[in-house]
Amino acid sequence: MNRREFAKLSLAAGAMGITGFPLGITRSAGQAGGTLNTIIQPEPPILVTALNQQQPTLTLGGKIYESLLRYDFDLKPLPGLAQSWEVSEDRKTYTFKLYPNITFHDGTPLTADDVIFSVTKLLPETHARARGIFVRVESAEAPDPLTVVFKLKTPFAPFLGAFDCTTAPIVPKHIYEGTDYRKNPANQKAIGCGPFKLKEWVRGSHVHLVKHEGYYRPGEPHLDEIIYRVIPDAASRSVALEQGTVQLTQWSDVEAFDVQRLAQLPNVSMTTKGYELFAPHQWLELNNRIAPMNDKRFRQAVMSAIDRKALLQRVYFGLGKVATGPVSSKTRFYEKDVKQYEYSLDKAKALLDDMGLKPGPDGKRVSIPYLVPPYGEIYQRAAEFIRQSLGRVGIDVQLQGTDIAGWAEKCGNWDFSMTMNLVYQLGDPAIGVSRTYISSNIRKGVLFSNTAGYSNPEVDRLFEEAAVATSDDKRQELYSAVQKILVEDVPIVWLIEQDYPNFTDKRLKNVITTAIGVHETFGAVSFG
């Protein structure tokens, strides 16, 4: 392939990476120095993001580990460790050019070998989400120390979307090769190549990160240090923000009921941006295997009987948007022209009558147990809201409490009728959406698989074609078609596209700049 062909064919974003971004890095503006105090909650078990992908690990580890790319709010790739990238015509070969002078925290230079080792050896063993993507790599080569070439077995459109620091953190090969990754003593030191390195971790108190002097971007990081404080109590976290003890909060650090009050504070600003890659989708999961939930009309009735706008306002304090279908409006390939389910008790009752599910003498048509996920108050309130809503059309919902292990066990093993779930979209429907609806992902014992048990050959086909389709237009067409079918079938009652608030001190600059928000490396963050 010659250069002209390449220019025509490469992804628009990829091409921009080459032409639009000069070689060598411009020094980013920002005042040097200062200490950022923030919160980590709950305390992570480990800081190595390649080995553990719980949210606190990713939030904190994002400063320590970096990956090849970053993504803007529209999920378009930006340079990370890779200054440029190319995609071949057949969409099977991806070539990344690394920046020179990247070093790990122990002083060793980062080369293409470290990237290949991380992506093809370590991550497929330790990172479930990365495994699903990187097993598609047929071969990986390093023609020179700053160039990595991945060849895929078949085209896989989301491949270029998998190089953020939560999916593909690069780890040092010389430390991990040939060892038991999970038991490697270096895990305690968390050696990465990000702008900050671990200085001290006092369990139960704080994690202290300091500037990595050998960072490859000139002038970065601006901050001298970041201190992540462990503050288990929600009220104390809010007070810490009010008093300025911490200058940044993320995810559920500030709980929904406190958001409106704290947003009025003069010294902080609030944004819900920076969660585009995750785009958490909150839904009511109905076990499609069990009557009456195996009937589409019943599921449609449930969709109509819940006033989701009121749910959003009263339970989620307005943090989010009413979801219209399986794909979040924040992510790629969203289709808004689908069947709309307005709140209508009459419509719900008519659908239930039509099914022959008539109310008994006590007004109840059917009684259904609802497994309440033990993830705190919002889930409890939402369960109460849904029980009352469905009670109005004669569906008697009985709430069942459980613990975390019990919920995961019951949900994974299909031992539920109704429950709630929050699932990330992860930037591409082929990664974050299809898993919930395709028949091949009906896997007993696996959470976040197709636990509802929905099965539709047409949906399977569309998702499969869309994952390997090479043009975005074609993919949009296929995903639009599949969204229309799913919204008609309602395998799952989509409720809310949940937003999370980030509160930042007004002096802090460049905090939320990409689709992974607070998980980003923070090299460019500065005071003033």
Binding site: R314, Q380, R381, A383, E384, F385, Q388, G391, L399
Partner: protein, 279 residues
């Protein structure tokens, strides 16, 4: 009759009884006063007390706090009484067996009782509910399981005291079977302290139930006072009424039951009772 008269003259006992009757009346009248379910979202969220149609305000979902208190009274009293009955039943059986047969049986029963007494009651209750799952029956079982040891020890002491009395000895000599001796001769004479302890156990049961519900371990289908406080804890800065009123309800009810228990103690205990009557 004497006892009743004495109780009616007992000032604090009467105050307790009046409050308790009021709570019982509220519980009984709940469906009449509030025909809608207490879970129904009847108004706007976060309405302060004395808003239109909402005497005690509404919670974050727009549910009527007053309705919650009325229905919560039913749950609290029902669980309090059921758990106490369970505790008294277990306690009396174990205490009676230990006290009547004495010796090795007594040793075995008392070691068992002590085993339960060494485990902090509330922690055990949490453990039981968390393991069995939060339903009404399991909450009653859990509270019963942690509340019986004091009753057992008291019953045993009473039985040991009465065991050697002439009228008991006479019954045994007549060849009456142990069950008859226990039920017809000893138990009726041991009843008054058990009643007093039982009445106080109702109060502690209500407190334990509230604490369990506060921690989210109550039956999620039942509106209870502890649940209301637990749910409003996070919004206490926006809506004080959501936690204050159920708190007052718990306070008054537990206080009332304790006062009644005290009154019963004073009137049923012959020594104290005589002093009261003499005064």
């Amino acid at each position: 009759m004497d006892t009743l008269k004495a109780f009616l003259r007992h000032p604090t006992g009467m105050i307790g009884l009046v409050i308790l009757v009021a709570v019982l009346a509220l519980a009984a009248a709940a469906p009449v006063l509030f025909p809608d379910s207490p879970w129904d979202m009847v108004g706007a969220p976060f309405q302060p007390p004395l808003s239109e149609g909402l005497l005690l305000g509404s919670d974050m979902l727009g549910r009527d706090v007053a309705a919650g208190i009325a229905y919560g009274a039913r749950v609290s009293l029902m669980i309090g009484i059921a758990a106490t009955l369970a505790a008294v039943l277990i306690g009396v059986v174990i205490g009676a067996v230990a006290g009547y047969f004495g010796d090795k049986v007594d040793d075995a029963m008392m070691r068992l009782t002590e085993l339960f007494q060494t485990i902090p009651g509330f922690i055990l209750a949490i453990l039981l509910v968390a393991t069995l799952g939060p339903t009404l029956t399991h909450v009653v079982v859990a509270i019963g399981a942690v509340s019986w040891p004091p009753v057992a020890r008291l019953t045993r002491a009473e039985f040991l005291r009465l065991r050697g009395r002439e009228f008991v000895q006479a019954a045994v000599c007549q060849g009456q079977p142990p069950l008859v001796v226990v039920l017809r001769h000893i138990l009726p004479n041991a009843l008054s302290p058990i009643i007093v302890t039982g009445s106080l156990t109702i109060a502690t049961s209500i407190l334990i139930e509230s604490a369990l519900s506060f921690m989210g371990l109550g039956d999620p289908n039942l509106m209870s006072w502890g649940f209301m406080i637990g749910a409003s804890r996070t919004v206490i800065r926006q809506a004080w009424w959501m936690s204050v009123f159920p708190g007052i309800a718990i306070l008054l009810t537990v206080l009332a039951i304790n006062l009644v228990g005290e009154g019963l103690n004073d009137t049923l205990n012959p020594r104290v009772a005589r002093k009261v009557r003499a005064a």
